[in-house]
């Protein structure tokens, strides 16, 4: 995780438009900190807004699982559940 965050920080530093990324505001709610810490390590959080609101809870579960299995995201099971719950509640159908 540390490596991932470091890499993300390096990318942010190298990419001038990234200042705008900080302005992305996801809806407040339980699990948002896990979303920011885990999802935000590899991609900007506008991906979440863009992919809403059409996924149901199963759909968001599948997205989180894809990030872990296909993209290797090192997310703990507890965090994965918190993230999927947050996404389904705030960005789901």
């Amino acid at each position: 995780m540390r490596i991932a965050l470091f890499a993300a920080a390096a990318v942010l530093a190298a990419f001038p438009a990234a200042a705008d990324e900080a302005a992305i505001q996801l809806k407040p709610g339980p699990g948002l900190d896990k979303v920011q810490g885990n999802c935000g390590a590899c991609h900007s959080l506008d991906y979440i807004q863009m992919n809403s609101p059409f996924l149901n809870a199963a759909g968001w579960n599948a997205e989180v699982a894809k990030m872990m299995k296909a993209f290797g995201a090192p997310i703990s099971d507890a965090d994965a559940k918190a993230i999927a719950d947050y996404l389904a509640k705030n960005y789901g159908t």
Binding site: D46, Q49, M50, G72
Partner: protein
């Protein structure tokens, strides 16, 4: 329900909807955010999409910052050649280096090659140069219009562009190392990498037959200028007729293979169901019983003179746009003003080659009130656009005939 953000946007543009309890009509929402979103994309984009100019680019519709995914707005498609600073940007991975042209090299080799080579940018430029005008369209262009919506980058109409590409033939580069007769695929890697080292690097392969096609290039020029950073500087693969997933940017390695490339980006990504689309070009070494890699683009068209809902004057209105396909060439573009019951031929514009955008125009006799215009392109092998969506889970190959309504006063 109106969100606070939408209320603020409404206030900023003088719309007096506060407290009305009504949601914005879709086109007003998009306008309030200063972004002309394609009608039908997920509503979440109303909140997140922005007009943003990346370094060296005019404002594009920002769909995601990191990795950067930016599409061209409709107004950038009013010419058959898309200017470099208006060309869309698409990345899978976010660690994108500024490649130094002086130290840049492409490594060529692999178990299907007889030898190895390393090419600098000067080496590439010293080789015989070829040019092709070709459409580069993201496989997922129009994914955002899928019904039901499917997850991914929710592109509207603008994940495409057409440029004059100049570079060395890939075939000539492969000739430097020589292909063994067992060679079946050629794999390509670009300089960008993932933010996290467990994420699969973006590596793609082509079947040998497409790799050695005379039109497949390693381009170092786009519309007479060096490639923009965000379009693959200093050199990228040009695969005319095929979707953008194969057009590797910042190309740094070419591997000739005797075995199929087996990675996430070849399977399960970028696959279409077997038999769903009328594509001719096959990628046999990657096929299985149920799915096959996306290959050539399906025939398609876009009205670019007017957005849906645009206001026009009564009388003659020239409706124009672009048509393109997987490289067979456009035979006809037809327009219908009665919902598809009868069709009239549009006038085709300059033919810039079979891989290029083909401009077309159609004189509409606009009557007071709503006028609908539908468009359908047919290519030279008789393929046409579809009346209804051929749904697939990744949202590829959406070539549903577009229909727009123009309001004449």
């Amino acid at each position: 329900m109106l969100t606070r953000r939408r209320l603020l946007e409404a206030a900023g543009t003088g719309l007096a909807l506060a407290g009305s309890g009504l949601d914005f009509p879709r086109s007003l929402k998009a306008r309030a955010a200063g972004v002309e979103l394609t009608p039908g994309v997920p509503a979440g984009l109303d909140t997140s999409a922005r007009m943003e100019a990346l370094p060296g680019k005019k404002p594009l519709i920002k769909l995601s910052y990191r990795p950067p995914n930016y599409e061209s707005p409709l107004e950038y498609f009013r010419t058959p050649i898309t200017p470099n600073d208006q060309f869309f940007v698409r990345y899978h991975l976010s660690d994108i280096p500024d490649v130094d042209a002086k130290t840049y090299k492409i490594a060529v080799g692999g178990d299907g090659a007889n030898g190895q080579a390393e090419l600098t940018l000067d080496d590439l430029k010293a080789m015989p140069a070829s040019e092709v005008i070709a459409v580069n369209q993201c496989s997922g262009n129009r994914r955002g219009l899928s019904q039901p919506h499917v997850a991914g980058v929710e592109w509207g109409y603008g994940a495409m562009g057409c440029a004059r590409w100049r570079g060395a033939k890939l075939k000539d580069v492969l000739d430097k190392v020589g292909l063994k007769k067992e060679a079946i695929e050629v794999a390509f890697n670009g300089a960008e990498g993932p933010a996290y080292d467990k994420t699969p690097d973006f590596v793609k392969s082509l079947p040998v037959w497409k790799a050695i096609d005379e039109s497949t290039l390693i381009a170092y020029e786009m519309n007479g200028a060096p490639l923009p950073h965000f379009n693959g500087f200093p050199a990228r693969l040009i695969v005319p007729g095929w979707t953008g997933t194969y057009w590797m940017k910042h190309l740094i390695s070419i591997n000739v293979r005797t075995q199929p490339l087996n990675n996430f980006w070849m399977n399960p990504a970028y696959r279409i169901p077997v038999g769903l689309f009328p594509v001719v070009a096959r990628f046999v070494s990657q096929e299985n019983a149920t799915s096959t890699p996306i290959t050539e683009m399906v025939v398609n068209s876009l009205i670019t003179s007017h957005a849906d809902g645009a206001k026009v004057k009564r009388g003659k209105v020239t409706v124009s746009g672009l048509a393109w396909d997987g490289g067979y060439g456009i035979r006809t573009v037809e327009a219908s003003v009665d919902g598809g019951k009868t069709w009239s031929a549009a006038t085709l514009g300059d033919d810039l080659g079979r891989y290029a955008f083909r401009p077309w125009s159609f004189p509409l006799a606009a009557k007071r009130g709503k006028n609908t215009v539908m468009v359908n392109a047919t290519n030279k092998i008789g393929q046409t656009q579809t009346a209804t969506l051929l749904f697939n889970g990744a949202g590829y190959h959406n070539n549903v005939m577009q229909s727009i309504t123009l309001e004449a006063a």
